[in-house]
Each structure stands twice: as structure tokens, then as C-alpha cells.
């Protein structure tokens, strides 16, 4: 057999049937369900009298619009409450396993899946949310789907897909101090653009990737979607296996060994074909952030905001100017030193224990700058409990951060955690579109350490000055 990539192998092993036009009926191992993209799918099942084929391959959580403050109180926003109650009725009716709001295992779906050992190497994983790509860090083929597809998976445990193209992003070398997985990924997106991965599944490879822990790999794969890719992947290795071992829903004992033996066969073969290869040197990557309203507007924290006048393409020039106006920035200004109003550390990109440790190491012994609202939103109840066990909550609280309950929170502002017009936010999330974190809000994407640095200095800051 011709050498195959990791993607090819997972794909091939899940094709139920290939239709005449090359569309595959692709088998799905795990379906993750949340309150926002599922109600219309359940409604569809009900209307057509179809059953949910595999509740035992499905897991539901509430995350997108749950409050991250006191949860013993009823949910104040009627529409949020309606979506959550609708999900609770649906999981009951269709027999779907569910982590409710008050469960310690509740959290952002893309944090919960790997954490519980529900997302495993070699699997196909889908969820009605584009950042499903996160689970690719496990060495699983994971992608976001729309609500019609959610219904399709519920009814058939498959989806209809054409194979993606293979792309490899190689990062060799060792990153410098203060440079994290987030910086690597933002640098990649800045390099290839938000359409750079369109139609492709990106496999991340190279020594700088191998050196990342699972949380870092999840950050990378999470934002593959911002690079336009269908999914991101990292080949499973010892780091992966050690991470999976002992997780609640992972195979145990002999079954685990059998699984590992299989997972070891998944890595791309020598000489496998990639349609596109991009290479970056780890040493060239510095702490970065975004200045505009597209994730590709990446500059080093030591850099300056670009000048639209120097852009030759008129459409792009206009767009840059619009971004500058929206973001309240001047062409050519230094980005460091720009004052922030809000700091948000959370989201499925950066809300794992490793992310909180990184932020805490900067926050420790310092104080949130006057006038800045800084919030920490752990990715799950488990992450929160772990952080509290390590005393990170105290570090944050003493520094003046808010310590909140798990959920998507200000990543998309569907719950009360929202920016107000004109507010500038240093955010560890993944999207900086206009109004993403609240109407008129201005988002700078950056790493948890950089976000913490912004919190304690009150402005966008090179984290290396604080380590």
C-alpha cells in the first residue's frame, strides 16, 4: 500500500461506503452535543420520527451560554435558560449521557472530551461547533459540523464528506522563553492566512510540536479552524498515551494496551504525500498578538500596527483601515503599551490547567492594574478543582482577578460576560471578529501568559519583561 498520512489512515478506517461522486459515508465514533446547535436537530429527529442511533457514542454538556457566576441561582437570561432546559428535555427523551450544569464534569465541550477520555486517538469526532478541531490533538479526526449534520449523525452515526487534502505544518527547533503554543499557532495563522488551510486537514509536526504537552497541542489544533482548515492533527505519541491513561472513559487494563498498540500504527508513513507543506523555525517565533478583527492580523508584541497606506490591494487597504478604526488604533503605532480594559483568560483555546498555571506564574505576587477587569474562566469543573487544589485560585484572587465557573463565557459573549462598546480586551480566546465578545468590543488574541501580563501592567505588554 502507498504510504499514507495520519489523516488518510483515520479516514480510510471510517469509510462505510463511498458514493459514486466520491462522497464518503464516514462513520463517527464520538458525537459531542451542546445547547446551542442541538435543539433544531433534536426537533428534526422528533418531527421525522427517527431515533438517535447511538446514545452510547454521544455526550452532551451545557457550555456556550451558561452563567459563570453563582450557579445555585436560576439562570437570569430567559433565552439561555430556554436553550439549557430544552437540552435537558432532549437528553432525557433520547437517552443521551449528559453532564449537567452543577456536575463537576461540566465544562466547555472541547475541554471535557479529552479530559474525560471520551476523545481518543484514531477516532472520528464531531460536534456542532467549529472548534471541534481541538480534539485533533489526540490524534483524532475531529471537525465541526452544522445543525443539519448534527441531526444526520444522531440519526445515522455517520456524516457525508469528501476527503480533505493533506497539509503539513512543520515547526522545528526550540521556542524561546515566554513563547507558548498560542504564539506558535498565531504565528502560523499570520503566516498562511485565514484561508491558508482551506480544504485541508493540517497535521502539525516537527520537534517544537512534539515538545508540546497535550494542552499546547489542543491550542494548536483548536485554532486550525482560524487558519481555514477543516481540522488539525497531531500524531499520537507517548505524551498522548500518558495523557489518556486512567481517564474516566478511556480503555482500561489490557484494553488500554491493545488500544495503544493500534494507536502506534497511526503516525504518518515515511514518504506520505502532502498537498502542501509549510515550515517555520521555532526560534523565529516571538510572543505575538493580533491587532485587527481577523485572526491573521498577527504581529510580534514588540511590533507596530501596520499602515494601510503601504498596502497595494485597494480592497485590502480599505479593510485594514476599517479594522484600525474599529480597533481604535493608529497606523504605525507601537502595539505594546496600549491600555486594556478587560482581560479574559479562558475559552476552549486556553482554559486548561496548564494555561492557568502559566497565567498564575505571571500573576503571582503582582496586582491587577487599577481600572482593569481581569477574569479567569476555567475550562471545566475538573480544571477548576485542580487549580484550587494547587492554590492557583488564591494567587489569582490575591492579585485581583475574578475566579469564575466553567463555560465559554466571554469567548463569544452569549452569557452575561460581554464587552461593552469600545472596551479593549486582551483575550486568550480564538476569534477577534467585530462584536465577537460583545457589540463594539475590541479583542486582542494572545497567550495566557501575555494576558496575565496585560492584566498586571494594564496594557499590552511583552511577557518576557515579567519573567
Amino acid at each position: 500500500m502507498a504510504p499514507r498520512t495520519l489523516f488518510d489512515k483515520i479516514w480510510d478506517s471510517h469509510v462505510v461506503e463511498t458514493l459514486p461522486d466520491k462522497t464518503a459515508i464516514l462513520y463517527i465514533d464520538r458525537h459531542l452535543v451542546h445547547e446551542v446547535t442541538s435543539p433544531q436537530a433534536f426537533e428534526g429527529l422528533r418531527l421525522s420520527g427517527r431515533r438517535l442511533r447511538h446514545p452510547d457514542a454521544t455526550i452532551a454538556v451545557v457550555d456556550h451560554n451558561v452563567p459563570t457566576s453563582d450557579r445555585t441561582q436560576p439562570i437570569a437570561e430567559a433565552e439561555s435558560r430556554n436553550q439549557i432546559e430544552t437540552l435537558e428535555r432532549n437528553v432525557k427523551e433520547f437517552g443521551v449521557p449528559y453532564f449537567p450544569l452543577l456536575s463537576a464534569r461540566q465544562g466547555i465541550v472541547h475541554v471535557v472530551g479529552p479530559e474525560q477520555g471520551i476523545s481518543l486517538p484514531g477516532m472520528t469526532i464531531v460536534c456542532g461547533d467549529s472548534h471541534t478541531s481541538t480534539h485533533g490533538a489526540m490524534g483524532a479526526l475531529a471537525f465541526g459540523i452544522g445543525t443539519s449534520e448534527v441531526e444526520h449523525v444522531m440519526a445515522t452515526q455517520t456524516i457525508l464528506q469528501k476527503p480533505a487534502k493533506n497539509m503539513k505544518v512543520v515547526v522545528e527547533g526550540q521556542v524561546g522563553p515566554g513563547v507558548t503554543a498560542k504564539d506558535i499557532m498565531l504565528a502560523i495563522i499570520g503566516h498562511i492566512g485565514t484561508a491558508g488551510g482551506t480544504g485541508h486537514v493540517i497535521e502539525f509536526a516537527g520537534s517544537a510540536i512534539r515538545d508540546l504537552d497535550m494542552a499546547g497541542r489542543m491550542t494548536l489544533c483548536n485554532m486550525s479552524i482560524e487558519a481555514g482548515a477543516r481540522a488539525g492533527l497531531v500524531a499520537p505519541d507517548e505524551t498522548t498515551f500518558e495523557y489518556v491513561r486512567g481517564r474516566p472513559f478511556a480503555p482500561k487494563g489490557e484494553a488500554f494496551d491493545e488500544a495503544v498498540a493500534y494507536w502506534k500504527t497511526l503516525a504518518s508513513d515515511e514518504g506520505a504525500h502532502y498537498d502542501r507543506v509549510v515550515e517555520l523555525r521555532a526560534e523565529d517565533i516571538t510572543p505575538v498578538l493580533t491587532w485587527g478583527t481577523s485572526p491573521e492580523t498577527v504581529i510580534p508584541v514588540t511590533g507596530n500596527v501596520p499602515d494601510p497606506a503601504k498596502e497595494t490591494d485597494p480592497a485590502r487597504r480599505k479593510q485594514m483601515q476599517r479594522m484600525l478604526d474599529y480597533m481604535g488604533l493608529e497606523a504605525g503605532q507601537k502595539i505594546a503599551g496600549t491600555p486594556v480594559d478587560v482581560v479574559f483568560i479562558g475559552s476552549c483555546t486556553n482554559s486548561r490547567i496548564e494555561d492557568l498555571r502559566a497565567a498564575a506564574s505571571i500573576a503571582a505576587g503582582r496586582k491587577v492594574a487599577p481600572g482593569v477587569r481581569a477574569m479567569i474562566v476555567p475550562g471545566s469543573g475538573i480544571v477548576k478543582a485542580q487549580a484550587e487544589e494547587e492554590g492557583l485560585d488564591k494567587v489569582f484572587l490575591e492579585a485581583g482577578f475574578e475566579w469564575r465557573e466553567a463555560g465559554c463565557s466571554m469567548c463569544l459573549g452569549m452569557n452575561p460576560d460581554r464587552l461593552t462598546p469600545g472596551q479593549r480586551c486582551a483575550s486568550t480566546s480564538n476569534r477577534n471578529f467585530e462584536g465577537r465578545q460583545g457589540p463594539g468590543g475590541r479583542t486582542h488574541l494572545l497567550s495566557p501568559a501575555m494576558a496575565a501580563a496585560a492584566a498586571v501592567t494594564g496594557c499590552l505588554t511583552d511577557v518576557r519583561e515579567l519573567i
Partner: protein, 207 residues
Amino acid sequence: MDKFTVLTGIAAALPEENIDTDKIIPARFLKTTKRSGLGVNAFDSMRYRADGSENPDFVLNQEPYRKAQILITFDNLGCGSSREHAPWALLDFGIRCVIAPSFADIFHNNCFKNGILPIVLPRPVCEQLMADARMGGNARLTIDLPRQVVIRPDGSEVPFEVDPLRKKLLLEGLDDIGQTLQHEKAIETFETERAQAQPWIPRIVLD
């Protein structure tokens, strides 16, 4: 799902790149549990001013484009989140066909699944069609899906590509699930074989 065969309608030009799903329908309108009713908030941030009044400069607030059924944009339409509310919002507004030089993958897929035809045409062609669209109410475009051509107001035709399976589903107004369930036997066989080959795959059961 409504059938899509031949559509003759008003086209609106939105000459921008990277119109993301947040622009098509901002996240704060995603709290519905039904598919309908999102049309009033389609393109909310462009369509309404801060005080909630209509922005008269925005094309879909102008006659005859309030009744547009076809939308023409530049590259990477529908990038951003996978929310299907984006095609629902377009559909509820009345849009049945979107034309752009390129689309974001998920959005492209979601359009088909909801009976909207996404057509990829090179940018210069999109620019021509935009010029047609700007001619106003009498300048209707016709999208002939069976023949795979866009017919311009001057009668000239622009051919386009469409995936044959997608085309069939649109023409028949068929949903994907019904299609796939015709292969249910194959799904069962797959499940049995895999349970034997990889018995370690855990089932998710809560106690």
C-alpha cells in the same frame, strides 16, 4: 427542504471579502431553538445603526434589494463559526443563492443542506454580476440549476460547477438523512466488523 430548480430574482452586491458568520448573524441571536425567524437580524451589524434604526447605506435596506434572493460577495464568504444559523438567517431573509469567488468549507456545506445554492465564480465574473446587480429592479439574474448556468440580464450565460450529488438533492428537495439511511445495512455491517476488530473502543455510559 424546498426544491431548487430555476430561480429568477433580484441580486444584491456586497463587495467585501471575508464576510464571516458573525456578520451574517451575530452570536447574540443564536439563542433560538427553532430554525425560522432569524432574517430580521441577518447582517445585523451592517444593517442597523447603534440606535437600532436602519442604516440606509446598506444595500439590503434599499429598494429593490430588500427582496434580494441572490447575494454576490468577494472571497471567503461565511468564514468563522460553523453556525448553521447563518444559512437559516439568509434563507429567512429570502436568499436562495450565494455567489462568491470562494467560500469557507463549513458554510458552503451548510448552504446546500438548507436549500441554498452556493456558486463559485472567479472574481472578475463576480464583479460583472455585481455590476448587473447594481442596475436595480429590472436587472434580474436567473440561476438555472439543471443547466448549471447563471443567465445575466443581457441574456448571456455564465456556466458554473456543482457537485452532482448536491445538485440532485437540491433539485429534488431531498434531505441527506433519508439518503444515507438507504445505506443502513452497510452501516450495520461496519459496526459489527469494527466491534470485532477494535473491541477496546469504550461505550459512553454514565452510572
